[in-house]
């Protein structure tokens, strides 16, 4: 049962393929197109760094199997020796301790000692094996996990937009657990089974090639059946995984949006939704169980059938190859009586020995088909061997299960790993040189979905140190535009230059270092206040942190928190009010002293007074920086050097506050709307007496 995320949809790898973007020349096939064996092969490439360890682990398995077979063989020999002793009629009538010191028991004890040594050796190898397995699988998963983490950090946001974060997290965690489980158990178990089967068949062929052949017989059928089953199982498994994931998604969204659920009193529908998803999951799980129900018994049936067949053959061989062929050996008729219990045995050992070879008159021990005398000891060996093989072959269920999971998981893993970066970087991209921070947009067009551009033909150019305001209706693309500047996405057309350098040609690190970002939506980490503020600049001193907090007017409320700057924040900063969160975000952006500062509606959640204080403080900070301000309140906008009005993704107006007020257009419209309040205010003042009279009379009434 698994709550793994669904096989996520194919990533639309809408790489911006502009002329000079360093796209991968030989694009490998998408992981979704890879066949299972190709996937496995790619997975094994991660074994490269731990090749030696892996080889050692396999060698140890072979050694282990070898010792194990010898141990079992020795056990058989011991039993044979006992039996031979019996048949030779040497009866030890001495007490135990005397008996084992003397022949015939002495040699048997020797064999037992050898067996003991073999077992100890075997367990020592087990120890090494356990250790080695864990070493090399852990190492391998380490590399895989680091690779996927690195990739997720650098793949660009278009990829993150398309995949739910839960699914992505699972790529690096449970998916890789699946891969490891397969390697550690599935794969090594396969090696073990192969070694085991080969070992035993070689052993059996020393007894008789017919026995060996009989043992081999079911193997092809087996392989065929397992493969066939895998094909049926895989879709069922995936469906179950997906259904499980749907259940988790309902739960996740419900818990994350709990206040909405409560506010709208939709608990009932939520429960219905969850139960419906859970019922589907249950059904899908039972689907897989039903498949197993047919698969596992058949696998066991085949194993048991060949086990018993071999046993029968072996038992017959014991009879046929017995080397004393006394012609007179017919059974005493008394034993034919059905009344005798099965345990009732012939009176004496010699009789029994004689009885053993009763019907072998026609077949002699020297018969070329049976070069070795098969005896009871062999039977024990066969029993043990077949038992061991049987129990391993029943693990085939498990291997096949793990294999299915690992394949699904590997596919998803490579899907992340192969996702071409949506913001590819040149291999040796130089750092962005330190400059004044001039920004030029050169006919930039971008859409999250390339077919539907969100911003179109954006062209402007501002010298370093200027303040640029972006205004425009909701959804006009303001946030999108500033995200392009930091290369969260690459435009489909056009280019963006900072200090004359195409941002795609500079290293991402240097680019983002030179831009300080206050997002429209605040994300804080569950860490202390101080660590959140110095997030982008970990070596900032407490002095720096405090200075930044003072600029964003956060210092005061931070000091009121239980542990001041060392207070832990809740998840996403949940225990702070909206305005408090936003002020921390501003402090975080300015602490690293960036050349370009982006304030995306950064003051929306603070009251006018605090806003005023922050703006005043920011004015000092803004000196010598290029600042992009997105705001709806003109008060924030009017001091800027350039106001850009964005409507439906296009620049419809650009100029200073004063210039734009003189033009007909969006800007003047919003100014009028906002000024209307003031006019209303003047009107209101004229009417205030009447109002006041009203109000007081009303108060009297109540």
């Amino acid at each position: 049962m698994s709550t793994n995320p669904p096989q996520s949809k194919s990533p639309k790898t809408s790489t911006p393929v502009s002329a000079d973007s360093p796209s991968d020349p030989a694009k490998p096939p998408s992981p979704l197109e890879l066949t299972n064996s190709q996937l496995l092969r790619r997975m094994f490439r991660f074994l490269a760094p731990v090749r030696a360890l892996a080889a050692l682990a396999c060698l140890l398995i072979v050694a282990w199997v070898f010792v194990e077979i010898n141990a079992v063989k020795t056990t058989g020999q011991i039993v044979n020796a006992v039996k031979d002793t019996l048949e030779s009629g040497k009866v030890a009538n001495t007490p135990f301790w005397d008996a084992i010191g003397r022949e015939p028991l002495r040699s048997i004890v020797h064999m037992i000692v050898i067996l003991g040594l073999l077992v100890v050796l075997n367990n020592f190898i087990t120890f090494l094996r356990t250790y080695m397995n864990s070493r090399f699988t852990m190492d391998m998963v380490y590399h895989m996990r680091a690779a996927v983490y690195d990739r997720l950090q650098n793949v660009g946001f278009a990829f993150h937009d398309e995949h739910s974060s839960g699914a992505l997290i699972n790529r690096a965690l449970s998916d890789l657990q699946n891969v490891r489980a397969f390697l550690q158990m599935g794969l090594l178990l396969t090696v073990e089974i192969v070694a085991f089967v080969v070992g035993w068949i070689v052993y059996m062929s020393t007894i008789s090639r017919w026995v060996a052949l009989a043992a081999l017989l079911p193997v092809p059928f087996w392989i065929w059946y397992i493969l066939r089953f895998g094909r049926k199982m895989q879709p069922a498994q995936q469906a179950a995984m997906k259904a499980g994931d749907d259940v988790v998604t309902v739960l996740t969204e419900n818990v994350a949006g709990v206040h909405v659920v409560k506010a709208f009193a939709t608990e009932g529908t939520e429960i219905q939704k969850y139960n419906a998803a859970a019922n589907t999951w249950f059904d899908r799980v039972m689907d897989t169980v039903r498949l197993w129900r047919n698969f596992a018994p058949i696998i066991r049936g085949i194993a048991s059938a060949s086990h018993l067949t071999l046993f029968a053959i072996c038992a017959l061989l014991v009879v046929l190859t017995a080397d004393v062929p006394p012609p007179s050996a017919t059974l005493p008729t008394s034993t034919l009586a059905p009344s005798t219990a099965p345990a009732s045995l012939p009176a004496t050992a010699p009789e029994a020995a004689a009885a053993t070879s009763a019907p072998t008159a026609t077949i002699t021990a020297s018969s070329p088909a049976f070069p070795v005398k098969v005896n009871v000891g062999h039977l024990l060996v066969f029993g043990a061997a077949m038992g061991a093989i049987l129990s391993r072959l029943q693990q085939v269920n498990q291997i096949s299960d793990q294999y299915q999971r690992a394949i699904v998981s590997a596919r998803r893993f490579f899907e992340v790993l192969d996702a071409p970066s949506t913001v590819p970087e040149f291999t040796k991209a130089p750092d962005l040189p330190r400059g004044p921070g001039a920004v030029e947009f050169h006919f930039v067009t971008f859409g999250y979905d390339p077919a539907k551009p969100v911003v179109r033909d954006i062209a402007f150019d501002v010298p370093g140190g200027s303040i640029v305001a972006l205004v425009g209706p909701t959804g006009s693309g303001k946030s999108t535009l500033v995200q392009l500047l930091a290369r969260f996405y690459d435009p489909q057309n056009g280019q963006i230059l900072i200090d004359g350098i195409d941002i795609r040609k500079a290293s991402l690190t240097s680019l983002r270092k030179s831009i300080g970002f206050v997002f429209q939506e605040t994300f804080l980490f569950s860490d202390t206040v101080a660590n959140n503020i110095r997030y982008g600049h970990p070596d900032a001193t407490m002095g720096d942190v405090e200075a930044a907090a003072r600029v964003s007017q956060a210092h005061e409320f931070i000091m009121e928190l239980p542990q001041g700057y060392d207070t832990m924040l809740g998840e996403r900063g949940a225990t702070l009010s909206g305005g408090q969160r936003q002020r921390l975000a501003i402090a975080r952006a300015i602490i690293s002293n960036p050349r370009i500062l982006v304030l995306d509606d950064a003051l929306a959640a603070v009251d006018p007074e605090t806003e005023h204080l922050i703006s005043r403080a920011l004015e000092l900070v803004m000196v010598d920086r290029t600042v992009f301000i997105i705001a709806h309140r003109l008060s924030t906008v009017k001091a800027s050097d350039l106001v850009i009005v964005l409507e439906h993704g296009r620049i419809t107006q650009a100029g200073t506050h004063k210039e734009l007020l003189r033009q007909h257009g969006h800007y003047r419209h919003i100014a009028e709307v906002q000024l209307a309040y003031q006019e209303k205010e003047i009107l209101a003042k004229a009417e205030k007496r009447a109002d006041k009279a009203d109000a007081s009379s009303e108060e009297k009434k109540t």
Partner: protein, 660 residues
């Protein structure tokens, strides 16, 4: 042989315990020790609770158990067959089955019986081997049939119980109050419904079977050993307790190791989850390299922990195996001695080679359960810890709950009264002091004040997300404590400051509270509100997917969707907490105008920093540090010249100073 089997099972367990990560990460809290206990000894109260959940299916469990026992019994015949083969068939004693056949045939087909009997005399071993193998095949076949039956039956029973618990967890989560959600980390809550319940699957499905079957296996094997020879029994059975105690030690050691592994792995996963959720901030602040090296540091520890656990495993399992093997040595040595010593005695007193072989095999049956219990115990401890957490959750009384005598709130006019309300999220840090005000039906109340002064908190209290520590809140004269929350929320529309959208289309989100609303009704509501223009211009109009948490929408669009969603429910009380802070001025004005019409017969609470939205309120409450410092209409407050006047001056000064 055993060691690998054991190892495989353990690995299996380990993978069962794999982490299913919630969408948003659990949070690390340096003050509290990382994580919750992962292992817990068996405790009767918890077991009782699990049994309580299993009780409705007790007959199914009993059937499954009986079937399983029968199958195991059949499988345990194996050594007896071998004994029979060796002692009886190969030496050529006629098989009971064959002689029985002859006897049966003799009365009906004397001729056939004669020829069979003759063949039996000459080829007794062939008949014997054939009969034994046939019998063996038959019992194996039966056992496989039983297994096939149980595979589904047993699993279905167990899964039904597990799913019942899953559903109960979810349903219970719906009842718990906001303070629970504040207190408990998101990842933790989520893991109740994911990892914790997953850890219970195997014990609930197979627990009873495993315990009883293993006990039976051990018992039968012991009986077989005692029965075959009492001296032998004394010679080997004492190893059972020894093994058990060794296993106990091993369990403790490995338990501690696995706990370490799991606890640390939580750190790896938390780190990953949080960074993925905050990826934009990570990228904007260039933390990739640092994060990767930090992540790898965590991974290093994880690797070392895992390898250490394996090493412990690698030492103890072979040790246990060697001890188990001592039993075999004893059986072999003493058995060989007995075989040879007693070979001259009477048939019944004789210790045969077959008996020796059977004993040798029964020893495995005796020893394996001891080792199995070890693994099962490990898994049980995890399940115990999980079960306890789940039951703690299920036992959690919601703090804000409908009292027993709660009544459904009748359709309200919308009068809201706060009566000396004091409130604190955390006991030692009061947020609201002595709040008293009255909102008459149809009035618009504005809450104004500095950030963090408690505006959203007042909204939360009206929604009954929290209960005040002192004072009362009355709606139409009904105390909030005395009415059902369902009836309350049905008459309220809320736009919270932190908006939340469910993944799905815009349409689905808007009609969240009213799933039966038609698309036309939705559009009508949006048109009346003034959000239609923006929403219809989206990529696919109302059918645009909003993305995870609404991430494919601009913030303003998200707010409009939330606003429309609240409005569609046609509430008597409307609460708008910064509902349009990210919406552009033009759209805001349209909505403002629409609201003036739409809120006429609703009681409306507004929080806004853009004071333009506040001017027409019937009552403005100015808050400062959780106290109401001024109250009145916009004009009376301006007249007063206090805090509000100052805030308002600040607001208008900024707009007005540059009039063309």
């Amino acid at each position: 042989m055993i060691s690998t089997l054991m190892k495989r099972k353990r690995d299996q367990r380990r993978e069962v315990a794999k982490i299913n990560l919630p969408t948003a990460g659990p949070v690390k809290d340096p003050n509290a020790p990382e994580g919750e206990p992962d292992y817990k000894p068996l405790e009767w109260p918890v077991v009782k609770k699990i049994l309580h959940w299993m009780a409705p299916y007790k007959w199914n469990y009993i059937v499954a158990l009986l079937v399983n026992l029968a199958g195991t019994l059949l499988d345990m015949l194996g050594p007896l067959y071998i004994k029979h083969l060796v002692d009886h068939d190969i030496p050529g004693h006629p098989h009971m089955l064959a002689t029985g056949l002859v006897a049966a045939l003799r009365t009906t087909f004397p001729g056939t019986a004669e020829s069979v009997s003759r063949s039996l005399q000459h080829h007794a071993p062939f008949w014997g081997i054939g009969c034994t193998i046939a019998l063996w095949a038959f019992t194996t076949f039966l056992s496989i049939l039983l297994m096939r039956f149980n595979m589904e039956y047993n699993r279905r029973t167990g899964e039904k119980v597990v799913f019942a618990i899953r559903k109960a967890i979810f349903a219970h989560l719906q009842q718990l109050s906001m303070s629970f959600y504040d207190r408990t980390k998101f990842g933790r809550i989520l893991s109740r419904g994911t990892t914790d319940i997953d850890a219970m699957v195997n014990p609930v499905v197979n627990g009873v079977n495993t315990v009883v079957t293993n006990a039976m296996m051990m018992g039968i094997a012991a009986v077989m050993i005692v029965y075959s020879d009492w001296r032998m029994a004394i010679a080997v059975l004492w190893l059972g307790p020894v093994l058990y105690f060794m296993n106990q030690i091993y369990r403790r050691k490995i338990g501690a190791k696995w706990r370490q592994v799991r606890e640390h792995f939580t750190r790896v996963s938390t780190n990953l989850a949080e960074n993925i959720n905050g990826m934009r901030v990570v990228a904007a602040f260039n933390r990739q390299e640092e994060n990767l090296s930090h992540f790898n540091e965590l991974q290093d520890v994880n690797t070392i922990n895992n390898i250490q656990a394996s090493a412990t495993n690698g030492i103890y399992m072979p040790l246990l195996n060697v001890v188990g093997f001592i039993g075999k040595v004893i059986i072999l040595m003493f058995g060989c001695y007995l075989v040879i010593r007693t070979s001259g005695q009477s048939a019944t007193a004789r210790f045969t080679v077959g008996t020796l072989m059977a004993l040798y095999m029964y020893w495995d049956w005796f020893m394996n359960p001891v080792l199995n219990f070890g693994n099962f115990h490990n898994e049980m401890m995890q399940a115990m810890a999980s079960a306890e957490r789940i039951f703690t959750l299920l036992d959690q009384r919601p703090e804000v709950t409908d009292s027993a005598d709660a009544i459904a709130l009748p359709p309200v006019k919308g009068e809201v009264r706060f009566d000396h309300v004091n409130f604190a999220y955390k006991v030692d840090k009061p947020v609201l002091h002595d709040i008293t005000f009255e909102a008459r039906p149809g009035q618009t109340i504005a809450l104004v004040g500095h950030t963090g002064c408690g505006k959203s908190t007042i909204m939360n209290l009206i929604c009954r997300f929290y209960l005040p520590q002192q004072g009362g809140i009355l709606i139409d004269g009904y105390d909030l404590r005395k009415i059902t929350s369902d009836s309350l929320h049905r008459q309220m529309g809320i736009v919270a400051q932190s908006n939340y959208l469910f993944s799905g289309s815009v349409l689905e989100n808007i009609r969240y509270a009213k799933p039966d609303a038609t698309e036309e009704q939705v559009i009508a509501a949006a048109t009346a509100l003034g959000s239609h223009d923006v929403l219809s211009e989206l990529k696919d109009g109302y059918h645009t997917q909003v993305g995870e948490r609404g991430s494919a929408m601009s913030l303003g669009q998200r707010q409009l969707i939330c606003f429309t969603r609240a409005f569609l429910a046609n509430p008597a009380i409307l609460m708008l907490d910064e509902a349009t802070s990210a919406v552009d001025t033009h759209t805001e004005m349209i909505i403002q105008q629409a609201l003036e019409r739409l809120v006429a017969d609703r009681t409306t609470f507004i929080v806004a920093h853009r004071l333009s939205t506040v001017t027409s309120a019937d009552l403005v409450l100015v808050l400062d540090h959780g106290k109401i410092i001024e109250r009145g209409t916009h004009h009376s407050l301006l007249e007063l010249g206090g805090k509000y006047a100052e805030l308002y001056r600040q607001f208008t000064r900024e707009i007005g100073s540059d009039t063309p």
